[in-house]
Symmetry: C2
Subunit: 251 residues, 2 copies
C-alpha cells in the first residue's frame, strides 16, 4: 500500500539522516539553485524530506495549500478532477521541479491533486513559514516570483499547444523536448512515464496517442515499448512546429 502523507507524521528520510534537507539537496530544485547558504539554511529549517512509493497521494484539490513541494527524484502528476469525476492530467513534474507554488503564495485552496507516478523523494516546505521568510528575504521573493512566472508560462504554452496543434504535433513537440541535444539529428530516449499517462498529459485518448505515434512513424519516429528513437529530428521539428519561447531574463 502506498505511503500517505498525514498532517502529523511525515515519513523520515530513509537514508537515516535528519528529516530536514541539506543544502545540496535543496539546490537540486531549480527554483533554489542560486540562493546562498545562509538563506537555504533558513529554508531547510522549515522543510522536511519525504519519500513516497509509487502512486501515492501527496495532496488533494480543495485542501488548504499548506506546503510548497520540491521534487528531488521520481515523478509527480498534477491533475484536476471535474465534478463528474473525470480527471485531466495538467502536468507531470520531473526531478528538479516544484509544484503548488502559486496556490501557496496566494493562500488559496489547492486547485490540483498531486500523486507520485514513481517512487519519489520530495521536500515539503511549510507554507506559513515560507510566507514569513518572504517578508524579510528579498532574494527568496525574487526566486519565487520568477518560479511562479515560469509556472504561468508553462500553462500558457500548454494552452497554445492545445489550441494550435494536432495530437501528433503535440506528441512530436513532447518528444523533441525530451531530446535535449539539439546539435545532432538523431536521438534515442526512454519515455519517462507510461503511455496512459502520456495520453492524459497530452490531452488525448490512448487510442489517439497510438494513432499519433503511427503518424509520426513516417517522420522517422521509431518506438519499442517505452523506448523511442528519433531518426530525423529536423523533419520532426518541421512537422511539429515547436515553440521557440525565450525564457531568458531581461536586463
Amino acid at each position: 500500500m502506498p505511503t500517505q502523507l498525514s498532517e502529523t507524521a511525515f515519513p523520515v528520510d530513509q537514508d537515516g539522516g535528519s528529516a530536514c534537507p541539506d543544502l545540496a539537496l535543496l539546490r537540486q530544485a531549480a527554483v533554489f539553485r542560486d540562493l546562498d547558504d545562509r538563506l537555504l539554511t533558513r529554508i531547510s529549517a522549515v522543510s522536511t524530506v519525504v519519500i513516497l512509493g509509487e502512486n501515492a497521494p501527496i495532496c488533494r484539490q480543495g485542501e488548504p495549500a499548506d506546503r510548497f513541494y520540491l521534487l528531488i527524484s521520481g515523478q509527480v502528476a498534477l491533475s484536476n478532477t471535474a465534478p463528474n469525476g473525470t480527471s485531466a492530467v495538467v502536468e507531470v513534474i520531473p526531478p528538479g521541479g516544484h509544484f503548488m507554488l502559486p496556490t501557496v503564495l496566494a493562500r488559496l485552496p489547492l486547485l490540483m491533486n498531486a500523486n507520485t507516478v514513481a517512487e519519489s523523494r520530495l521536500i515539503a516546505i511549510d507554507a506559513t513559514a515560507l510566507l514569513n521568510l518572504l517578508q524579510t528575504e528579498s532574494a527568496l521573493a525574487t526566486a519565487l516570483l520568477r518560479a511562479e512566472a515560469m509556472d504561468f508560462r508553462a500553462m500558457v504554452r500548454q494552452v497554445c499547444d492545445l489550441k494550435l496543434r494536432t495530437t501528433a504535433q503535440r506528441l512530436g513537440c513532447y518528444l523533441l523536448e525530451l531530446s535535449k541535444d539539439r546539435a545532432v539529428n538523431t536521438a534515442s530516449m526512454r519515455l519517462p512515464f507510461d503511455k496512459r499517462l502520456l495520453a492524459a498529459r497530452l490531452g488525448c485518448r490512448q487510442e489517439n496517442l497510438s494513432r499519433a505515434f503511427a503518424a509520426l512513424r513516417s517522420l522517422g519516429v521509431e518506438t519499442h515499448g517505452s523506448r523511442v528513437i528519433l531518426h530525423d529530428i529536423a523533419r520532426l521539428r518541421d512537422y511539429s512546429e515547436p515553440d521557440d519561447f525565450t525564457d531568458v531574463e531581461c536586463a
Copy 2:
C-alpha cells in the same frame, strides 16, 4: 489607423485630465480594489491612462515586459504567435482585468501579444517603479501574488477545459460563465466579441464553433447574431459540466 503605444509618448486621457489615473479609476481594476488611498496614490504616480482605438497593438511577444496593464473599459486579446505564423488567442481580458503580471514580476520577455479588440481605456504601470514599490509595500506584494495566482489558475482551468471537454461543452461553459445570475434558469446576453475571436479563444475553427452552436440548440441555446438566449440553464449545465473551482481565500 489605430494609435500605437510608443516608448516615448503615451496618448493622454481624452477627457483632458491628468495622464495619471485617479484612485477611483485604479480601484476599477479587481487587483487593486482593496488597497488603501495612500498606496494607490503611490501607484498612481507611476501610472499613465492610455486610450486606444479598436485593433490597436499594445505590446508584442519577445519585447521586455516594461509595463503592467489594467483594463478599465473595452477589451484586450492576448495571443501567442508560433514560429510558422499561426496565432493562438490565449485569453480575452474583460474590463476590470489586468495582463502581463507574471512576466513583469519575473522580468522576462513578453510571452504574448496584446491588442485591443474594442476601443479601450487602460492604465499602464511602469514595471521598474512597480517592482520598487513592492520592496516596501507588503499590501501590494500580497495583492500581486494573489493576482498572479489567479492568472495561473485561469490558465490551469483552460488546460483542463481543453483536455476534458468537446468544443460544444467548452462553448456551453463559456455561455454559462457569461450568465451571472445563477438563481434563474434562463438568461439573455450579448456575446462580448465576435464569433471569429470566440472560436480562437475556445481553440477551434470557426466552422466548428458554428457546429457547436448548432449542437447546443437542442439544449435550449438560441442565437441571433451576437445575442444569445439560454432557455434552460440547468440542462446546459448538465451537458457542459462546468468546473466548480473554489477561489475563496483560506484563513
